[in-house]
Amino acid sequence: MNADLSFRAGIKDVVPTLFGYIGVGLAFGVIGHTSHLSILVIAFMSLWVYAGASQFIIANMLLVHDPISAIAVSTFLVNSRMILMSTTLAQYFRKDSMLNNIGIALLTTDETFALAMNKLNRTKQQLSAKWQHAANLLAYATWAVATVVGAWLGSLIESPEKLGLDFALVAMFIGLVYLQLISDKSIKFAVQLLVMLFVAICLYFAMAVMPGNMAVLLATVLGCLFGMVIEK
């Protein structure tokens, strides 16, 4: 990754994260298949809802015929960290047109958000709409294709986890955290390490009393507040 903010650079920069989409997308396709969702439904969900963790939960809730209102609330809660990420990312596109802003917003994910935050460290805190569109679109297409292929493979593969592909997502977060840690010069290294430690402790205890997604959200908010306090 370098300072280049062209469309081409966006395509190039997003490639490493695609393994995560492929791994999780295949897994979602397989699970969608075993939850009796057709390939058409899986493709529709991937293109219209486009939210990794939420899609697993929706598939599960559809299987047990939960009310649509409950499915919508679960989707909102699982996906609510997007509000924090979108608010953070949006600050870098204020000068771009509203259409560009909405286009970027529609396809923002954990991964493309994290990638953009890493990119900022190489570009003197600048992002460009065309760079972000390129990364977002390639990620979006990869996700849709991976889930459909997963659904199709679902009947063929017994245990896709043997290949280790599901670990791609975890490895990607490890990589993004590490690169963030060594390259974000706007926050002191020691402060970042302390914030990470604090987040880990909060998450550990929060996970005992709430679902993982909520624990992530709570640990994130507490971590940001902790960072503000110790940086003073």
Partner: protein
């Protein structure tokens, strides 16, 4: 596709679209107060750390989580690859290969 499945997906799509788009529209229209900007400056490291650590733990309802040793073992070569190469691609590939090897030998 039944009407129930169709409607559920349509509604959930509007939920995810709203969560993504409304913050962009608001941030474009209004200047965020300095303390919110400061708060959000910690977002990258906190949310990525939280998502990473969540994958190192196994939730148990009503109890403290267990450590996911297989993921933790596979993370070690991935981190070493990161220190050596600073390349996201290498980190991801090393992680996948490490996990496949752990499972092949039944470790963790």
């Amino acid at each position: 596709m039944s009407l129930y499945v169709f409607l559920a997906i349509v509604v959930c799509g509007f939920v995810t679209i709203a969560s993504r788009v409304l913050p962009f529209i608001l941030v474009k229209q209004f200047e965020l107060p300095a303390f919110i900007v400061k708060f959000l400056s910690f977002m990258p490291i906190t949310i990525m750390s939280a998502l990473m650590f969540e994958n190192m733990l196994i939730a148990r309802s009503g109890q403290l989580p267990l450590f996911d040793w297989q993921n933790i073992w596979a993370a070690i070569p991935a981190v070493i690859a990161g220190i050596l190469t600073k390349s996201l691609l290498v980190i991801v590939v090393v992680g996948i290969v490490a996990m496949a090897a752990l499972r092949f030998y039944g470790i963790g």
